[in-house]
């Protein structure tokens, strides 16, 4: 946690915030009467609150090295179930809410089971789960558009106005605070980062990496579940909102890893990313009124974010090599460093595979018994 507190206002670490300010200035100048208004900000804040929660939902497993692609579908299902339980099954609101939240956690648990016990890669497992959940969505609603819930309490869950801002924004911030606290200030968070950083080293350091991965997926499911319920509270029943929220969640998490604590998935960077993207989209839509802007923006953002992250990784690696290429007097030390440098120059040459692999073997000191 400590590394990262160094107050280094380098362009890179805060580029998101600069960009955000840039957008605001740009669009204010462009459409002065429409953009820079209270209602615009409310609108952005509110619509992004649920999106932000889903970004947090994917963030937790990402830290541990797992991909959860089912959060959108999970949110959609729990959101619908919360409504349908009341309107179609006649359950009291408390039961409906509890059940929906539990459902979210349960989906996460099943994801964890598939990944840890059945040893299916998380990307594939949750992709499949997402599809299964969409099927359940149809089953649960009998393929009909469900009627909205009449209860004011239910609607107030997200819509209750606090100083002009819907309470859902604060709920999202509260969730962000909790996730931040766990990730950066508790041993559990350390275990998550260690598992994601190098799961084998984590295992050999006494971390139960399977358990960590499983729990991270359960948490993702739970957060997605809550997010779904709040979405329903905000907008009423929708059978299609889940998939649309998935990509921007990942875009935000990846973009967020370039902010504040570059190279590391982190909570506040993710939130900054969410709002930067949303502000950009909102501004563009006001300016041009095009419908496709959101998808375009989020897609480009995701690609850019990952490209930036990868670019940094390679820069870090080559920096490391360059500084230690000096032949050391001891000679033996160069065993460790030189091969990496040599590999860089050898790239692009047609070489025999064995020679390249020979380097890897040398670094690990003799061949292994496979």
């Amino acid at each position: 946690m400590n590394t990262k507190k160094v107050l280094n206002t380098s362009l890179e670490r805060f580029s998101g915030i600069y960009l955000w300010v840039g957008f605001i200035v740009l669009f204010t100048v462009w459409k002065p009467n429409e953009f820079f208004t209270v209602s615009t900000f409310h609108s952005v804040a509110t619509t992004q609150a649920v999106q932000g929660m889903l970004a947090l939902a994917v963030l937790v497993p990402l830290v541990a090295g797992q991909f959860d692609l089912s959060v959108g579908a999970t949110a959609n299902l729990t959101g619908i179930v919360a409504i349908v339980a009341q309107t179609m099954w006649g359950w009291p609101i408390w039961a409906a809410l509890l059940f929906s939240v539990a459902l979210g956690f349960f989906i996460g648990f099943v994801n964890g089971f598939v990944v840890v016990r059945l040893r299916v890669n998380s990307f594939i497992a949750t992709l499949g789960m997402g599809s299964i959940l969409s099927a359940f969505l149809v089953i649960v609603t009998n393929s009909e558009q469900p009627a909205p819930v009449e209860s004011t309490f239910f609607n107030n869950l997200a819509q209750y106005s606090v100083g002009g801002i819907s309470i859902v924004v604060f709920e999202m911030l509260a969730l962000a605070l909790i996730v931040y606290w766990v990730l950066d200030w508790t041993p559990a968070g350390r275990r998550l980062y260690a598992t994601g950083g190098n799961s084998e080293a984590a295992r050999l350091s006494g971390i139960r990496v399977d358990r960590v991965a499983w729990v991270s997926l359960v948490v993702a499911g739970g957060i997605a579940g809550v997010a779904g319920i709040l979405f329903s509270s905000l907008y009423g029943p929708s059978l299609s909102f889940g998939p649309e929220l998935l990509l921007p969640a990942f875009a935000a998490a990846f973009l967020g890893s370039t902010q504040l604590q570059p190279g590391r998935f982190n909570v506040w960077g993710t939130l900054i990313a969410i709002y930067v993207l949303a502000t950009g989209v909102e501004g563009l839509q006001l300016v041009s009124g095009q419908q496709w802007l959101s998808s375009m923006f989020n897609g480009v953002a995701l690609i850019l974010a990952v490209a930036l992250a990868v670019g940094r990784e390679r820069r870090d690696n080559s920096k490391k090599v360059r500084t230690r290429r000096r032949p050391s007097s001891a000679g033996v030390e160069s065993f460790d460093e030189a091969p990496v440098a040599v590999l860089e120059t050898a790239e692009g040459l047609e070489t025999e595979g064995p020679a390249v692999v020979g380097r890897a073997r040398e670094e690990t000191g003799g061949s292994h018994l496979d």
């Binding site: 590394t3 190098n198 984590a202 065993f335 692999v357 020979g358």
Partner: protein
Amino acid sequence: MLVGQNGSGKSTLIKILAGYHAPEAGGDATVSGEPLQFGHPETAYHLGCRFVHQDLALIDDLNVLENLFLGTRYPMHWGAIDNRASLRAGQEMIDRVALNVDLRAPISELNASQRTGVAIARALRVDEKYPERVLVLDEPTATLPADEVAALLDTVRVVARQGVAVLFVTHHIEEIFRLGDQVTILRDGVAVHTGPIADLTREGLVAHLTGERQQREVVKAPAVAKAEPRLTIDHLVAPGVRDVSIEVAEGEILGIAGITGSGRETILGAIFGATKRLGGEVVIDGRSVPSGRPDLAIGMGVGFLPPDRKISGSFPTLNAQDNLTVLNIGRFWRGWFLSPKAEEGEAKDWFKRLDVRPLDGTQQRFDSFSGGNQQKILFGKWLSNGPRAFLLDEPTQGVDIGAKGELHRQLISVAASGTSIVISSTDIEELVAICSRVIVMVDGRIDREIVGEDVTEANLTRGFVSNPDG
């Protein structure tokens, strides 16, 4: 034959020949009288050098023929692969090395010496533009069981008879006498002897390998009085380990030596639980350590430093502090948060104690430190947990001489405070320097135990001889 101990420079030399390292100015190499340009792998190939490295780079799922043509063009016919011509060419290649395998057999079905044979056949691929002149084999028998070594040596003789010069790098003293004509012995990066094998005796060879050592400052572990065994390994069976029983006393530094394939590389992992045991028991302080559970082993006071820092020993992308404190982060818990001050204090403390440079670099990325400092940080990680038994696999690999000495002194002082230490290493000098007792493993079992005064380089090197056979 090229022979030398771990760290003598054999592999670096091969890599220089192959073009992966550029040596410092002043030396040169020629092949058939033509100069070899350093730093460019193609020039080695153009001069006719062909290499078979220790990792054969064969693809298990493909068959022999496909592997033979890996990296080169098939004979073509009308835009598609000409199967009959390919088969003929492939057959010629394996006949040339007198190898008896089915071209269509998948590599996974071949035994180790056959695979090496395929790799050699492939390396000797006929290229009219750059005819093959020199075949370099880097420790080809390292992973071969004793009974297959003979087959491989025969293959090598066949190749030599065809006029190809063979540079055979090995650890095994027996092979030098069975196969070789000339031998060059490397020690500490210098060729200390070159000459016909006929002129050399086994003792002479070993003497060259180990050298007349000055009594350099040997930091020796004090001899341990016969104390109660703290760590007991009973009939351990694991991948590479057939049946090993060891007892380690409090404060003892035990060494495990052995060539590749002897079980040395896998035994510590099996004891700790990095890999599951197939049989046998591990007991520390009277408690049985469950198999394959690193977390429980750590809880019982066992520490394990794996040989490969980058892959499984550390978190390269996290900072030094995170690496140091990962074992027991809970000790910094202050009610509802982890205290950054406490954690940083502890990290700085260990940096000072182990002299990690730069001293104020606790927040720097782990992989930005040099090999020696990385290893010191990892020492700190395990020592800060107060292990009762500390297992280290290749503890000073990739570490410069200065840091090596410091790490050794650390281990001795840790042992003096009661911890049992087991070091598995291919660095004979290291074992001689700090171990009071060394076990030599051969083929998965303990071949011999060398104690106290007898722990010398000469004795250890001699101990590596595999079962002599016909």
